[in-house]
């Protein structure tokens, strides 16, 4: 199986900001992204959990975005501009993907 080098960008962001981030990512040229639910967590702003919440305000969402290496900088700049003032975490991992034409 031939695999291709790519970057796995994982962004944990406040749910009310998610659509802004993903819209910006798409504009920045990513071919896709995946949203994962987040149950809770803890950071400098203390612990939180989604249990029983009705409002979207308190929660976070994970945005997973696999991109070609050459797009990484654009993607990170975009992400940073949006998460800058917000709580949240951005991490990047090297990965291999099948079907490189998709990215």
């Amino acid at each position: 199986m031939k695999a291709y080098k790519a970057k796995r960008v994982e962004i944990i962001i406040e749910t009310p900001m998610q659509s802004r981030l993903t819209d910006a990512l798409v504009k920045a040229g990513v071919t896709g992204y995946t949203l994962l639910p987040v149950l809770g967590g803890q950071g400098r702003s203390g612990p939180w959990t989604r249990e029983g919440e009705v409002s979207r305000a308190g929660g976070m969402t994970m945005v997973l975005c696999i991109v070609r290496q050459e797009k990484l900088d654009t993607v990170l700049d975009t992400a940073f501009a949006i998460v800058e003032k917000h709580i949240g975490v951005v991490s990047v991992t090297d990965c291999d993907v099948l079907r490189a034409e998709r990215f």
Partner: protein
């Protein structure tokens, strides 16, 4: 006075309040009792649908009286102006910086629909009628306060409030407004016939569902108190109790002057007295990300909500009773 005390006591031993208390205690004792997020959302959809629908049916029955437009306008005005008062009061009572003060103020101009629902069922219990369209007033009061809050921030030099078209759409078309207004219109369109079809879903079990929702509200309030106790000073606490009283005091004469019924006036007081904990926090996370949710959520959910639920509502009922009789 006896009247108020009686009302307050009777109010306090109702299943609705006690369920809230149970949730609060469970959360403070760090029990793992919790309502799944999906279930809490489903309960809130049910409550919004039922309250909107019944409001609409009642308008269909009694017709729209002339005060509707005026009350809507009054609602907008209250929602826009109350944050200014709240902002001022916060600066007097607490050392909160401009940004956080504005964010908190925005919550108090907007409304808490569960407080509204709880007040409705207190009114029902005492057989006090109210205008069905107060539901529409509730819906219209959700958003203007957000604008006022952002305006308050933008006046400061270090303005960082961000308001874009997307945020506008999100606020005005947020799920709870759409559902409330939508079911209000459905109730108006289908009237008593429609109500008869779904009565045993939205009327009879209503209070029981409210109990479970209050259990969840108690859990949330308790959790937010446990987490952010430290960020709530005595000054802020005083604000959380004073501000609803001020809001209600302003709404009382205005409702009376406008010719609202005594029940309608109570609901207007409740809307003015209550603070948002769903729509406004979400908007603030986008527009004022640097403001601390620990402050505004804890005040709104952990202080003002329980205050209104337990003491506020009976007080407002008693005050309106006094003025109207």
């Amino acid at each position: 006075m006896v009247d108020i005390l009686q009302l307050a006591t009777a109010n306090l031993v109702s299943p609705v309040i006690l369920c809230f208390a149970l949730g609060l205690v469970a959360a403070l004792a760090r029990s793992d009792l919790s309502v799944p997020e999906a279930a809490a959302k489903a309960l809130s959809i049910y409550l919004l649908f039922a309250i909107g629908f019944k409001g609409g049916v009642s308008v269909a029955g009694y017709g729209l009286d002339g005060t509707l437009i005026l009350t809507l306008l009054l609602g907008i005005a209250l929602s826009a102006v109350l944050p200014l008062i709240a902002f001022y009061l916060l600066q007097v009572l607490s050392g909160l910086d401009r940004l956080n003060a504005a964010a908190v103020a925005g919550h108090y101009g907007s409304i808490s629909i569960v407080t509204f629902v709880a007040a409705t069922s207190v009114l029902e219990k005492y057989g006090i009628a109210s205008e069905g369209y107060m539901v529409a007033v509730a819906a219209i009061m959700e958003a203007p306060a957000i604008l006022s809050a952002l305006w308050l921030v933008s006046r400061g030099s270090d303005s960082s409030a961000r308001m874009d078209a997307t945020l506008w759409r999100e606020i005005l078309l947020n799920g709870s407004i759409v559902l409330l207004v939508g079911s209000f219109l459905i109730g108006m369109a289908t009237g008593e016939d429609g109500l008869k079809e779904i009565e045993s879903f939205i009327v009879s079990p209503f209070k029981g569902v409210l109990c479970l929702f209050m259990l969840d509200m108690g859990l949330l309030a308790g959790r937010s108190l446990a987490k952010s106790r430290k960020s709530i000073s005595i000054g802020l606490l005083a604000f959380g109790v004073l501000m609803p009283l001020i809001g209600a005091s302003i709404a009382l004469p205005l409702g009376f002057a406008l010719g609202l019924s005594s029940g309608g006036t109570v609901l207007l007081m409740v809307l003015s007295a209550s603070a948002s904990y769903i729509a406004v926090p979400a908007a603030m996370r986008v527009a004022l990300p640097e403001a601390d949710p620990g402050v505004y959520l804890t005040l709104s959910l952990g202080v003002t909500f329980p205050f209104n639920l337990t003491l506020g509502i009976p007080l407002y009922v008693a005050a309106a009773n006094f003025l109207f009789s």
